[in-house]
């Protein structure tokens, strides 16, 4: 049962943290509030379709179809998250008001829907595939179901906790905290995409640069939670480190430029 708890917790946690960050942003700024329902609906449909076609998709690109689709989806999520961060910071810092013209609201809503629909599609499909093997293992089916409920429940609780902590912050501290979290999450998403392309053989790489397993092992609870939220790697390659630094640097630098002529202290 513990195996199932951890598997489902990891899948749910990734999506739950993203939802909590985006929901805080959209509720505080009073963007379109109903995007989440659309995103969840689209995600569930996507997950069912992806799971059904999993075997077929895996044969694409010389047997690396799974990696390429996941990598491209993560790249898209990373770009959408960057747009969320930069657009909302622009309106908060430079214009000191929520956007009133339709284009930024449309962009923020559309990118939020895309982020969550793709995240739920990917994580949901893995959960569906995991449970698709349940019919052949009647002995374990009950513990797998209960383990899934526990793992999913834990993931949702952590997401709700993260939302609650952020939501009650004052706007100034909220934007600072949210910006930092979004930078870290986006950099992690781009690094995860890079890793998929490395696994598919599309990017040549070198030996890992360092190994922090002695400090935080990836197999530990902390390591698994950090992996789920920030794509923590104990032994990253040069390419992964470069992508992480580039993403974090570009986003951080852009936020700095936006704040330089800020109308909000």
């Amino acid at each position: 049962m513990l195996t199932t708890v951890i598997i489902i917790l990891r899948e749910v946690l990734e999506a739950a943290i993203l939802i909590s960050l985006l929901m805080v942003l959209h509720l505080k700024f009073r963007f379109y509030r109903h995007w989440l329902g659309i995103a969840i609906g689209a995600g569930i449909v996507g997950a069912s379709l992806y799971a059904k076609a999993f075997g077929n998709i895996s044969t694409w690109f010389d047997g690396s179809g799974q990696e390429i689709i996941n990598g491209l989806s993560l790249l898209c999520i990373g770009i959408c998250l960057s747009l969320q961060l930069l657009l909302s910071s622009w309106h908060y810092r430079r214009l000191a008001k929520p956007p009133d013209s339709p284009l930024p609201i449309f962009t923020l809503t559309l990118t939020a829907i895309l982020i969550m629909a793709m995240a739920i599609t990917r994580e949901g499909a893995e959960i569906i595939v995991y449970y698709s093997g349940i019919t052949g293992q009647q002995r374990h089916s009950h513990s797998m179901i209960i383990g899934g409920i526990i793992g999913g429940g834990l993931g949702l609780c952590i997401g709700v906790l993260s939302f609650t902590i952020l939501y009650q912050l004052a706007m100034r501290n909220l934007m600072a905290g949210l910006s930092l979290l979004l930078i870290l999450v986006t950099a992690g998403v781009m690094t995860e995409a890079t890793q998929y392309f490395i696994q598919a053989g599309w990017i040549l790489t070198t030996e890992p640069l360092w190994d922090t397993t002695a400090f935080i092992s990836e197999s530990s609870v902390a390591g698994q939670l950090l992996y789920a939220v920030f794509a923590y790697e104990a032994s990253p390659t040069l390419e992964e480190v470069m992508v992480w630094c580039l993403t974090a640097g570009l986003l951080g630098g852009s936020l700095f430029l936006i704040q330089r002529k800020s109308h909000v202290s």
Partner: protein, 113 residues
Amino acid sequence: MNRKTVLLLLPFLLTGTIQADDNLFHLKINRHLFYPDTLVVPAGTRIKVIIENQDPTPEEFESFELNREKIIMGNTSATVFIGPLKPGTYPFFGEFNPETAQGKIIAVPADKP
């Protein structure tokens, strides 16, 4: 980005796929066990592992040390590129059946027999 730039960048994109002398290894999954459970591979070079899942249920090949995870559907095969690895031992497991599906990759320096 004009056409010239795209043509210049194209070789960098393709270098990942054109690798005539990739070291090729095979793993099988049967009754939630890996066969062989130990693979000895050369260190310092990228290897290609073809994993054949002979069980009817899916399995997820995963390794924290190798930074690899891939779902392999029942009665299908999958390809995973690993490395280059420093010399050492790298455990892997089947995430869906971790109690039984366990194995390791041992990377040895190329000059060792």
